[in-house]
Subunit: 234 residues, 2 copies
DNA sequence: ACGCCCTTGTGAAAGCACGCACAAAGTGGG
DNA sequence: CCCACTTTGTGCGTGCTTTCACAAGGGCGT
């Protein structure tokens, strides 16, 4: 614990790096569970499916947490990434929509890891209100505002049909939620201060179809080079 | 139908553009349903949540399908984008995992739009094999290879727990599937010729948490600027 | 038939992201 | 105590993305 520069990072982690940190975190937690104490950038990169230089550069944005000639201390790095991502505090999440998707989300064990607490699961359908899902009782959509303020919900998850999504989003925003995760296939309109992320099955399928067509349309001009996967064998 | 250059695009649409085409397509279909025949890049961009210059450049990669001073013919553009994405042919999709997530996917009406056909919904749990979901009977995982070859499945969807994902993926690959959509929170290992896309709830949540923390940690250095959303009012 | 006005399509510039390759830094053996 | 080896952290070149700004093209009113 030498004093170091005391100024590891100076704010401003590239968005592309932020998007990969959760992947590194998961890989590290897997290593930790297997009792591995130290890992090199090469090994961690391989576990996370990225280039090792990219991994090192990503981590360098958080500070100098590695030891040359040795690698990274797994537990320490888990802690640093968790802290950077804001997972050392708990975030309350409200899920709207208790259909199959909402239930799948609610059952998503421990919500990735810890750090997220499902404060409520709401639905507009009287038929499902009152059901128990993942140890939670489904509440009525009309209690959204109460739940958000009582439970200090900071992240809203929208798992309702497309036509209802903007309405739910507006209510979240009105209630003070500034982070929204949207599973409905619509573009949400929100004020600039609100952060929206989208998860969209049909978009992913269509992107796959595009590349599949490439492969089928006679020899493609370039290999698929999927943005995410396409790694070589272990 | 003037002869034009007959060489509208020459192969090689940027990946970033491909990822946005489905969004444009959906926006256009919405316009078409409302009976709108023509749209300007400005209006379409607004509906899709992007910058109009970006939209024009994206569309220019497909060819010159607009009319200066007027805009784009909605139906024609729908057709061109569909064709480019490979949606004018049908793709057979097999979903493995008939839990809440698998069911949610199977029920995802018309699978976005048309273009995708669910050839099978499979599960390893004898308890759910035989259930009817979305007009489909859940089959046993052991029939995966048969289904893939009999139904000419080209896209495999993995909606199983993390520990089972790699195994299912291997079976898909072995059976000849070259496009995989993975919902399990693991990095899949596949040969280079296979295209994998990942949808991961907990990663999205963690990215939101990062930005939320930024907002909370005193005035952020920069506004959130969510990759996806954060548009202004209509 | 002419000219005004609107909107597309695209050069050019700026900003990011990626990956190579290497110097710096730390470990362990002799 | 020194040297050989390992692995990090990063400067730099390259290519992709985004955005601006505007010339070219086409419709419409007169």
């Amino acid at each position: 614990m030498t004093p170091r520069s005391t100024r590891p990072r100076e704010r401003g982690i590239p968005e592309a790096t932020v998007a990969r940190l959760p992947v590194y975190l998961r890989a590290l937690q897997g290593l930790a569970e297997r009792g591995i104490l130290t890992v090199s950038s090469e090994d961690l990169a391989s576990a996370a499916g990225v280039n090792s230089a990219k991994l090192r550069k990503d981590l360098s944005h958080l500070g100098s947490y590695g030891t040359r000639g040795v690698g990274y201390d797994v537990d320490y790095l888990v802690y640093q990434i968790s802290r950077e991502l804001g997972l050392t505090q708990d975030w309350s999440v409200a899920i709207v929509g208790a259909g199959n998707l909402g239930r799948a989300l609610a059952n998503y064990g421990g919500f990735g890891t810890r750090g997220f607490r499902i404060a409520a699961l709401l639905d507009a359908d009287e038929g499902v209100v009152g059901d128990e899902v993942a140890g939670l009782r489904v509440g009525h959509i009309d209690t959204l505002e109460d739940v958000v303020s009582a439970e200090r919900v900071s992240i809203g998850v929208i798992a309702v049909p497309a036509v209802a999504a903007q309405g739910v989003c507006d209510r979240f925003v009105e209630a003070g939620v500034t982070s929204v995760l949207n599973f409905a296939p619509v573009v949400l309109n929100v004020p600039p201060a609100v952060d929206v992320r989208k998860v969209d099955l049909s978009i992913e399928l269509q992107i796959l179809a595009f590349h599949a067509q490439r492969k089928a349309d006679g020899r493609a001009t370039a290999p698929p080079a999927g943005r995410i996967g396409a790694k070589e064998k272990a």
